[in-house]
Every structure is written in C-alpha cells, then in structure tokens.
C-alpha cells in the first residue's frame, strides 16, 4: 500500500480539563472517502480541525501528504494550501462577490494573475453548478448555494485533500441534496475526502469507510455496510437507532457507560 494521504497518530486534544480527543489513530489513503459519524461532543469536528491545525493538538502527530502538519517548523500556510476545508456555516466572505470569493485567495495566496484566477474560478463554479451566480453576493444565495460556492472556493486552490465539517447541518432539508450531489461527484473524481456528517444515506452510498467516534475515541472503523448496516458495538447501535428513528429513543438512564456524556 502507498503512503496514506492523511495519517493521525496518538492524537489527543484537551480544552482545559476537558479531554475531547483521547488518543486517535487513523489513516486515510489516497482517493479514499471516509465519513466520520458520532454523537455531538464525541470529538469528530475537533479531529477534523486538527487535520489542518485549526485546532492545535495537545499530543500526537498529524501527517498530510507526507508532510508533518504538527511539526512546529512546518510552513503551515503552505501545508494548508493542499487541504481544502468546508465549514458548517459556509464562511463565505460576505463583502466579496461569488467570483471574488474564489479569485481573491488564489491571487493573494497562490499569486495567480487575474486572468488565470478568473478562469479557475469560472471552471469551479461550473463544477458546482453555479456558473450563473458568478456576480451575486453571498447574502443573495440560499444556504445550499452558499455551501456549493464554499466548496468551489476550496477546490479553486487545487487541494489534494478535502475536509468537510458537517457541510449540510445548517441547511434546510430540501437544499441538502444539491450539496451532497456535488460531494458525490468529487468522490467519483477520486478526491481524498474526510467528511464529518450525520447524513447516513450519503455515508452508506459514497464512503469507502465509516468511522464511528464516541467520547473522544474511535469505537468502530470499517466498510459502511458493516459499521452502519451491522454495527459490532452497542454504542454504535445505540447511536444509529437514535439517529434513524429519533421518535423511538427512550429517556436515557444507563448513560454511565458512555464516556462522551461529560461534554453535553
């Protein structure tokens, strides 16, 4: 097997006394799509944010494309250019038009000239199906459109890895599909993707692997049909049953066996 695109070793992260990640080891191969699922507070977003060092790990090492991101001497800005990130809240730049959202980072960070940046921007807007919104401002777009622009903005930098932090959680249900379709297309093109999500259908259909986290550790890691279809661990089954049918969930009593509950 070739060297993994993302490698996480012994990763721990605490916020004060609160241990959010308690030793994570994870490898993601080139072109692999990995969905990370788990209850809120399980540390899955923190794990994702450690991969591009938006959060600094307390302990452990993170490699992306062979470069150690956690090395204090690494040029983190250069390393991040290879890692695209999509946020739950889109985080488009509201004072810039859609096209400028895509061209400004290319010009300021990659030093591309105006014409080249504009061409790459147009290509990527077309890729997410929003070529006709090139001159609109983010506030004039729906949530789903904003998120697709955010994906295009990340892609315009030519990343080798894409991180998605609950990309559809802030969207109205009817807008989720467009965003997932764009992500599905990306996966098909062979992009290495790490996706924190609650979309089980997407995980089942698109992911090569599903990782279930709870209480700051990886509980289960395997093929989607195994982790989602036939989970081995009680915690995974418990989580999935609540997710698939929230109305059937009982009031929790026996929560002592769930270490994740100290962080609601």
């Amino acid at each position: 097997m070739t060297t993994p695109e993302i490698r996480v070793q012994g990763l721990r992260k605490s916020f004060g006394d609160n241990q959010v990640l308690r030793g994570i080891d994870l490898e993601i191969g080139q072109g692999e799509v990995v969905c990370v699922i788990g209850p809120s507070g399980s540390g899955k977003s923190t794990l994702l944010r450690c991969v591009n060092l938006l959060e600094e790990p307390t302990e452990g090492r993170v490699f992306v494309g062979g470069t150690e991101i956690t090395d204090p001497d690494v040029d983190i800005d250069a390393a991040r250019r290879r890692i695209g990130m999509v946020f739950q809240q889109f985080n488009l730049f509201p004072h810039l038009s859609v096209t400028e959202n895509l061209t400004l980072p290319q010009r300021r960070v990659l030093g591309r000239d105006k014409a080249q940046a504009a061409r790459v921007a147009a290509e990527n807007l077309a890729r997410v199906g929003l070529a006709e919104k090139a001159d609109a401002f983010p506030s004039a777009l729906s949530g789903g459109q904003q998120q697709r622009v955010a994906i295009a903005r990340a892609l315009a930098m030519g990343p080798e890895v894409m991180l998605f932090d609950e990309p559809t959680s802030a969207l109205d249900p009817e807008l989720v599909g467009d965003v997932l379709a764009v992500m599905r297309g990306l996966a098909r093109e062979g992009m290495t993707m790490m996706v924190v999500t609650h979309e089980m259908t997407f995980a089942r259909e698109v992911a090569d692997r599903v990782v279930f986290m709870d209480g700051g550790v990886i509980v289960e890691d395997g093929r989607p049909e195994q982790v989602i279809g036939a989970p081995r661990h009680a915690r995974t089954r418990h989580f999935l049953s609540r997710l698939l049918d929230p109305a059937m969930a009982e009031v929790e009593e026996g929560i002592a066996d769930r270490p994740g509950t100290d962080r609601a």
Partner: protein, 277 residues
Amino acid sequence: MADTDTGVQPKRTGLTRTRRRRLSRGAQYAVLAAAVIAFALTADWGRLQNQFAQPGIARQLFPDLITVALKNTVLYTLSGFVVGLALGMVIALMRLSSVGPYRWLAGIYIEIFRGLPALLIFIFVGVGVPLAFPEVQYPGGTYGKVAVALGLVSAAYMAETIRAGIQAVPKGQTEAARSLGFSPARAMVSIILPQAFRIILPPLTNELVLLFKDSSLVLFLGVTLEQRELSKFGNDLASQTANSTPILVAGLCYLLITVPLSLVVRRMETKALKEIR
C-alpha cells in the same frame, strides 16, 4: 361584604385607556406651549436681533468666513482624522496582539488619552513638546501641530472602535481564510479589516463630527490671521465689531457640516440594521 369572590381587586382610577392617553398627551402639549409662550414674552427680541443677527455685520464676514475660517476648520479636522485613524489602527492591532507588552502599551495609551481633556493635549503638543525638544519641527507648522494634537486625542477613541469592529467579524471568517492558506497578517488585511470597517463606519463618522468641534481648540496654539478657523474667527470678529453676530454665523457653519454628517450616520445605521435582518 359584597365582594368576597376574589378578595383582591385592581385599584380603579375611573379612567378608560383612551381618556388616560388623551389626558397625558394634552398635559405634555400644555407644558410645551407654556414654555414657548413664556420665552417669547420674556425675551427682548429687539436686543437679541441687534446683538446676534445684524445682516450688515454678517455680510462683512464674507468671503473670509468661507475661504479662510471654514476652509481651515475642514483642513484641521480632516488632517487630525487621518492621523488619528492611522494611529488608532496601529493601537487597535497592538491591543489585539499576542505580545503582552504591546497590549499593555496600547491599553495605557487609550486610558491616558481618553481620560485627558483635549485642551490639555493641545497645550502639551503646542507648548510642551517644542520646549522639551527645541530641534523638533512639526511638518506643516501649525497645521502639523493641529493634526498631531487632534490625532492623538481621536486615536484613543478610534482604536477602541476599530478593535470592537475587528472583534465583531465572526471567527469563522478568520478560520476560512487561514484554511485557504492566508497568513494571519494577510487574513487581517484582505478579509477581516474590510469587514470591520464596514461595521464601524457609523461610529467613525461620529468621531469625525466630534473632531470638527474639537478643532476649535487650535485657538490655544496661537495662530496667524490666515490660520484662523471658525471659532477663533467668529470670536475675533465679535470683539472687533462689538457684536455677537459673527459667533452665530460661525455656529451655523459648524451645523452646516455636522448636521448632514449626522444624517449620513443615521442612514448608514438603518441600512446596517436592514442588512442584518
């Protein structure tokens, strides 16, 4: 007792809501009318007009009122604003720095210059500094002095405004920029500051209005005839003519500038509110 069913009854005033409202409004208008009438009857209109509104004297003020006094007021204010904005920006960034001493220095500066009367700072800049450093020359002479004095005063206020503006930009904006490979400095300049300035445009314009008025303190620096601004000009001509008309006219000139500015601020604020909704 007849009424035993509830025990407690609200106190009754015997007034319906409509009547109460009408009464209250009537009383307020009555007070206003009485005050206006009392003022009109007690004021000696002839003397007032003689002292404050003599068309002949007002005419004498032109064109110097505009070409010298108003021009200088605008010039002093704008140069002070530019210096204050630049310095305020530096102090705001120092205040947000990760280096402790920078934060402390900025904090001390802000506390000192916000706590002192602008007049003292003018005297300090105009008299203290030249005495202490005889070889130091302000570029532009009096204009430079005023720019520095007004700049020092306004920088303290603007620094706090700018800092608040920077902190009002959501954290996700910095994160998005950093995740795209922007360095912290580039993210600040290209992404955060443009948004912060949009937020603080109304309070900065308010600061400009305040500076217009503070520019009158140039009076204490000693200025030549050509350097007089509105207040000094009005005051000088009032003593020359032994009449207060120049003061009134100079005052109107201030309002000519500050009132439209205030209106602009109000429009920006309502527009900003609409955008949030």
